[in-house]
């Protein structure tokens, strides 16, 4: 058995193997820094709770919804028919467009591919595969609104 192996592995084929392995290693050492360079650095984490600015509150009052940034996520804050404040992810679970609140129909709608969600984020119609995640939101006595970065 050993003899047959020894016969098959000539000095040349062994050196070719070494050369091939070295070439692969060399290629890897070239590619790794490039791939690492291309991969974006870790984005900042969710951070603390986000308090709506005055103009965002005004927009919420006027248009019944506002979209704000918390860390890397976009959050939809809306005021439903019973004046209750709700916060959900603004990123459609279908293809990542930004959704909007349609007060007249009391639904959350994505204009890109016509996905519809109820105010709890559940899919009502259209192609989105998952519900919109909800966030904890609170209105203080002084009227200020705070969205906490944890999903509800």
């Amino acid at each position: 058995m050993e003899n047959r192996l020894a016969l098959r592995t000539t000095r040349r084929s062994f050196l070719d193997l070494l050369l091939g392995a070295a070439a692969l290693g060399w290629l890897g050492s070239l590619l790794y820094p490039v791939l690492r360079y291309l991969k974006p650095m870790a984005a900042a984490g969710p951070g603390g709770p986000v308090k709506l600015a005055q103009e965002e509150l005004a927009k919420l009052e006027k248009e019944r919804f506002v979209i704000l940034r918390a860390g890397t996520s976009r959050i939809l804050v809306l005021q439903d028919g019973t004046q209750q404040i709700r916060a959900l992810s603004a990123k459609c679970t279908h293809e990542g467009c930004t959704v909007q609140f349609v007060p007249g129909e009391s639904v959350i709608w994505c204009a890109c591919h016509n996905g519809r969600f109820d105010l709890d984020g559940k899919v009502l119609a259209g192609p989105p595969p998952r519900p919109l995640p909800r966030y904890v939101v609170q209105r203080a006595k002084d009227g200020s609104v705070t969205v906490s970065p944890e999903k509800a």
Binding site: L38, K39, P40, A43, I67, L68, R69, T72, R74, A90, H94, E95, G96, C97, T98, V99, Q100, C110, A111, C112, H113, N114, V123, G126, P127, P128, P129, R130
Partner: protein, 463 residues
């Protein structure tokens, strides 16, 4: 002064140093086949190349003023179109020529399919052309983001999001393409590098390869069964015709660029700058990608949230990938044409692809929907109207093919594509159910046809 007297002309001087004579000899004997079909189809590769050259020229001019950046991308494009002398014209030409290049490329590709020019020994010419087609789509997609307006922002958000459908490395690819988890100005920087450096370099290489193949093998002759062919000398006869057609293309681009500087106003084919991108604004109603992506956009809409254990978008992208893969492999799938035998099935496959894409694109345009502002068009009405147009197209294609190309007697693929429109638009099935039903009907018809052919063959062999 005992050297042989050198020839006086510049050509002689160069020839002595670089040996140009064999190249001239090659050019003198280069011929283009004159066959049974129209010569028109031979010019389309050239026109595509011409539009590409226009893209490079106008793109370089745009680069003189364009500044990528959060505070400058949108503003510099606005500056180009409003302040820079003839800036509006340069941008308009860049946009128009981009669309015309895609149109020319697609017609070139379909004519290659219909004439079976992909058959051996030209399989790799087809494949290199397929890569050039993918690069052209990449150019369109990456260039779209550069003005940093609302439309481009969501188009990029959707386009890059569909990357996550790729199993395993999808998320990594999406992040690398976006330069982060979301579309930001970092995405624009990456797309800018792709659009002006990476894709042009790749396109130059593939165009070089594609042209090298064509030079080495000459243009494809019509299939052996059609008619014997004569030849037309490339220099000067064909080259001058090429030049004349390019001149016509330039006149067309210049005319439309001047009179319609923001496009013809077809959804997916206009480039009004609009509002600056705002990542915190919701997507606006009626948002659509460019016309050549509309069929994929519509597929994404038609697929349900979940399908066979996959998420809807994942399944839709898988279907697109499989269809494109089949398209790339046509030279090996068409076994009749490989033996220089007529293969009407593959002509019909091209027809079916056109009808399949046309129906989805018409639906994406909401054709037939009552377009009152603020009200979404009724999808039922849209499907009905689009099915009407698709069936009309199919009938026209059928008549034209029966009258002008008598050897065509295969209609199963285009029939199946038409059936999708009929079932979805008129019978009220969802698109996906309609498509699956058509696919099953097609399969059954193919099996029956195969059995029937075998029986007639056996009968023919017995006596």
């Amino acid at each position: 002064m005992s050297q042989a007297t050198p020839r006086k002309s510049l050509f002689g001087w160069l020839d002595q140093r670089y040996g140009l004579a064999p190249l001239v000899e090659f050019a003198k004997h280069k011929e283009v086949p004159v066959g049974a079909h129209s010569m028109f189809w031979y010019y389309l590769g050239g026109t595509t190349l011409f539009f590409f050259a226009l893209q490079i020229a106008s793109g370089v001019l745009l680069l003189m003023y364009y500044q990528p950046g959060e505070a400058t991308s949108y503003e510099s494009i606005r500056y180009i179109t409003t302040h820079v002398p003839f800036g509006w014209l340069v941008r308009s030409i860049h946009c128009w020529s981009a669309h015309l290049m895609i149109i020319s490329l697609v017609v070139h590709m379909f004519s290659t399919l219909m004439l079976k020019a992909y058959r051996p020994p030209r399989e790799l010419t087809w494949v290199s052309g397929f890569f050039l087609f993918s690069l052209a789509l990449g150019f369109g997609f990456s260039g779209y983001l550069l003005p940093w307006n609302e439309l481009s922002f969501f188009a990029t958000a959707v386009g890059t999001d569909s990357m996550k459908a790729v199993p395993g490395v999808g998320d990594w690819m999406m992040q690398v393409l976006r330069g982060g988890p979301e579309v930001t100005i970092n995405t624009l920087y990456r797309f800018f590098a792709l659009h002006v450096v990476v894709l042009p370099l790749a396109a130059f290489s593939f165009i070089g390869l594609h042209l090298l193949f064509v030079q080495r093998q000459g243009m494809a002759k019509p299939m052996g069964h059609v008619a014997p062919t004569r030849g037309m000398r490339f220099f000067p006869n064909f080259a001058l015709r090429d030049a004349l057609i390019w001149l016509c293309c330039l006149i067309v681009v210049a005319t439309v660029a001047v009179y319609l500087p923001y496009g013809p106003g077809i959804p997916g084919m206009d480039w009004e700058l609009g509002k600056k991108a705002n990542p915190l604004a919701p997507a606006y109603p009626g948002i659509k990608p460019e016309w050549y992506f509309l069929w994929i956009y519509q597929l994404l809409k038609e697929f349900p949230p979940h399908l066979l254990g996959l998420e809807g978008p994942q399944a839709a992208i898988l279907v697109v990938a499989v269809l494109l893969g089949v398209w790339a492999l046509v030279p090996w799938l068409d076994r009749q044409a490989r033996r220089e035998l007529p293969s009407p099935a593959f002509g019909d496959l091209g027809m079916a692809a056109l009808l399949f894409i046309a129906y989805l694109t018409l639906k994406a345009w909401d054709i037939g929907g009552k377009g009152s502002p603020g009200v979404l068009p009724d999808p039922q009405l849209v499907s009905q109207a689009c099915a009407g147009i698709a069936v009309g197209l199919a009938v026209v294609a059928l008549i034209v093919r029966r009258l002008f190309y008598r050897q065509n007697r295969f209609f199963l693929f285009s029939g199946a594509a038409t059936l999708i429109a009929v079932l979805n638009g008129w019978a009220g099935l969802t698109w996906l159910v309609a498509a699956c039903t058509s696919a099953l009907a097609l399969l059954a018809a193919l099996v029956l046809r195969w059995l029937w052919l075998r029986r007639t063959e056996a009968q023919g062999a017995v006596p």
